[in-house]
């Protein structure tokens, strides 16, 4: 939703923060790219040293399991 004018969909987006173990600089980039490509994912920020992963997404467009799959596909385990 445009927050200025209030038009559009009630922004159904949720911001989640995962802690992910075992990032390398490279795998963090791969995960960021894969997450951003999912429907409804608008923003991804990863601190790869700490494993902190912030995702702004719309749960009606992408399921949590699809997000978890991105981590597991890259050999990572994420917890909320």
């Amino acid at each position: 939703m445009c927050k200025e004018c209030g038009c559009g969909q009630n922004n159904g987006n949720t911001r989640l923060q995962f802690i992910t173990e075992g990032y390398t600089e490279e795998s963090a980039k791969t995960v960021e790219k894969a997450l951003l490509g999912l429907p409804g994912v608008m923003y991804v920020h990863i601190h790869w040293h700490e494993g902190e992963t912030t995702i702004d997404y719309n749960p009606s467009k992408t399921k949590m399991t699809e997000i978890i799959k991105v981590f597991s596909d890259n050999g990572l385990e994420a917890g909320l």
Binding site: M1, C2, E4, C5, C7, G8, N10, L36
Partner: protein, 221 residues
């Protein structure tokens, strides 16, 4: 409470958009929602497009602007049927405006309907107008940061046009980075580099449009 009302409004918009989509698709008409910032070059690109394509096919244009008929006046010179919709300050077009505009256009005889939305990278992305494709024009002078800052419009657009590439030598804009960002946000999206001013890259854009028109016709058979 307020949130519920907004969702209802959008639900209503989507219903009307769907009926427009189905009605025009059944006639084999390609409908494009043309999006982009003010000054990105949407109208200029459309003028150059009509100069070439108006000889090959019948094109109608709905021009969305807050005020004035400046864009419709420009388009009318290029052999397309055009209607101006003024939103009187509204930041985007909505499906009921298109439905109303269509009653003033001989749309049944068209091959393509172009809806040029209000210049805005935010709100128009949320409102379906019955289009088969959204196309976003991003001029390189707007900067490389725009796709990541306005992800929804690029997620929604099957094609992004990088316009004003004739100015590349005078800016720090990286086409490579833009393509990377846009296809990261929207895997499968196409990106074309164009200069509406010099005509560079215009042929690829025209071919893309011809292919969409052909596809729409074939789907209606």
């Amino acid at each position: 409470m307020e949130v519920k009302v907004m969702q209802d409004v959008l639900g209503e918009n989507d219903k009307i958009a769907e009926s427009i989509h189905d009605k025009l698709a059944a006639h084999g008409i390609f409908v494009m929602n043309l999006l982009g910032s003010p000054g990105s070059g949407k109208t200029t690109l459309l003028e150059r497009t009509l100069e070439k394509l108006a000889k090959e096919m019948k094109i109608a244009v709905i021009e969305g602007d807050l005020f004035t008929s400046k864009d419709a006046d420009r388009i009318a010179k290029h052999g397309a049927e055009v209607i101006q919709v003024n939103t009187s300050g509204g930041c985007h077009l909505e499906a009921p405006m298109i439905e109303k505009a269509l009653s003033d256009i001989d749309w049944q005889s068209m091959d393509m309907l172009v809806i040029e939305n209000v210049g805005n990278l935010v709100c128009p992305a949320e409102f379906a107008l019955g289009e088969q494709a959204k196309v976003t024009v991003l001029s390189i002078t707007e900067g490389n940061d725009k796709p990541m800052k306005y992800p929804l419009i690029f997620k929604e657009s099957s094609l992004a046009i990088l316009n004003k590439v004739d100015l590349l030598p005078y800016t720090d804009f990286s086409v490579e980075e833009a393509v990377e960002d846009i296809t990261t946000i929207h895997p499968g999206a196409s990106v074309l580099s164009v200069s509406a001013r010099t005509g560079e890259g215009l042929d690829a854009w025209l071919d893309w449009l011809r292919a969409q028109v052909k596809k729409a016709k074939e789907a209606a058979r």
